[in-house]
């Protein structure tokens, strides 16, 4: 395969990953690394570097759509970004020490877990919780427009959310993914922030988290321009298109199919890691 053919094929694969990722809300990053390593035989370190770059592109590219909705809470985001960026630094340093086989196995496990999370029914939202002392002092409580008028919410369990965010950042730095699923879990489940606010704030945070580890990856020579170029342009185009058709599409079946793809890729990553083919 020459460079031209390789670029076109990688761009097409990344486009589909970005499109499905944004349509299903599961993110394109999770399938990019397996796609590059399993099908294009790319070294997992180059794959992680390219994926990380594309994560920043999708996060920033989707920001305009989210900002218009007006749900994200910039204070919660900024405070928790202290945890995610520190986590991302640790994850990126760890990535240079861990063997590529272990990286593949960890990646596979995270894929399986995120497929499980996406299938799990959401627990009903708890409303009208009493204000939490720490969250109130940090001025995190907010409100957003809903169908029944303006809804106020009180943020809970800030320390737990902060710790989970450190974990989300570490995974992002280690594996080059946005780890949006863990971020939403921390805000929605642990801190009891309404789902809409959680997902939009998470999208805002993903780019900053990824930038924290991207600097380290760049300095270490993990970001290859020839590979990152088709990945970034493909994912960006796919996810921008996905955001546009999101309103019209019926995503239930698509979500199920995409979760099955993620399970398959996760199993394959673990298999290749265990047998040492990665």
């Amino acid at each position: 395969m020459n460079t031209f053919e390789f670029t076109i094929l990688v761009a097409m694969g990344s486009f589909v990953a970005g499109l499905l990722g944004s349509l299903t809300g599961l993110g394109g990053g999770v399938v990019l690394v397996p796609l590059l390593t399993i099908f294009f035989k790319v070294d997992i370190r180059y794959a992680i570097g390219a994926s990380l770059v594309s994560v920043i592109a999708t996060s920033s590219g989707a920001a305009a759509a989210y900002v218009k909705e007006g749900f994200s809470n910039i204070r919660i985001g900024m405070f928790l970004e202290i945890a995610t960026t520190l986590g991302a630094l640790c994850g990126a340093f760890l990535a240079t020490r861990v063997s590529t086989r272990s990286l593949a196995i960890i990646f596979g496990l995270v894929l399986l877990y995120s497929a499980y999370l996406s299938r799990k029914p959401r627990t009903p939202e708890e409303r009208n919780l009493p204000p939490d002392a720490l969250a109130t002092r940090l001025r995190m409580n907010g409100s957003f427009p809903s169908e029944e008028g303006v809804r106020h919410y009180n943020v809970q369990r800030v320390p737990l959310g902060f710790s989970l965010m450190f974990g989300a950042g570490a995974l992002s730095g280690l594996l080059g993914i946005g780890s949006g699923a863990v971020k939403v879990l921390a805000m929605d489940q642990a801190m009891k922030i309404p789902f809409k606010v959680s997902t939009t704030t998470s999208n805002f945070m993903i780019g900053v988290t990824a930038a924290a580890s991207a600097g380290i990856y760049l300095n270490r020579g993990y970001i290859d321009p020839g590979l990152s170029m088709p990945v970034m342009l493909g994912v960006l185009a796919g996810s921008l298109l996905g955001v546009r058709i999101l309103v019209k599409a019926e995503t239930r079946v698509l979500r199920l199919l995409f979760s099955l793809v993620i399970v398959g890729l996760g199993a394959q990553m673990i298999y290749e890691g265990v047998t040492g083919r990665i």
Binding site: M1, N2, T3, F4, E5, T7, L36, F40, K41, V42, D43, R45, Y46, V53, I56, A57, S59, S60, G61, A63, A64, Y66, G70, I74, R75, M78, F79, E81, I82, T85, L86, L89, R139, G142, S143, G207, V208, A210, A211, A212, S213, A214, G215, I216, L218, N219, R220, G221, Y222, I223, D224, P225, G226, L227, S228, M229, P230, M232, L233, L236
Partner: protein, 128 residues
């Protein structure tokens, strides 16, 4: 609720900033891609073996020099640096926004995030 209104204004400006940054970086990457593919399109592709990037594609000064020489890979890398810089600019901008609101606490939090980001970009590599 003036506070909400101001937060909202900040977010709208920040959203536009992010879009502009991404589009600019995608444009630079596309220009680099054209040069790279015209020059090297027929060379065999292979990322199976990890070699790490040469030092002029790892550090900011190296990337600038490489892009100024109109190297396709250097220009792509410059576009990627612009992309990485967009969230950093977003954080820097948020400090200014919180300053407008006289919110010392959140200026501090945002400042910490900015320092972590700058450390990662500028201070961590062997190339500096």
């Amino acid at each position: 609720m003036t506070r909400d209104w101001t937060d909202r204004t900040i977010e709208e400006i920040v959203g536009n900033l992010l879009i502009a940054g991404v589009l600019l970086s995608a444009f630079v990457v596309a220009v680099g891609a054209a040069i790279y593919l015209i020059r090297h399109g027929l060379a065999p592709a292979g990322y199976h073996v990890f070699r790490g990037e040469p030092s002029d594609l790892r550090s900011l000064p190296g990337i600038f020099h490489s892009a100024l020489r109109l190297s396709g890979r250097g220009i792509i890398q410059l576009g990627l640096v612009l992309l990485i810089a967009t969230p950093v600019a977003r954080v820097a901008f948020a400090i200014w926004g919180f300053a407008e609101e006289h919110d010392r606490l959140y200026m501090t939090f945002t400042g910490v995030v900015l320092i972590i980001l700058l450390y990662s970009l500028l201070g961590s590599g062997s190339a500096f």
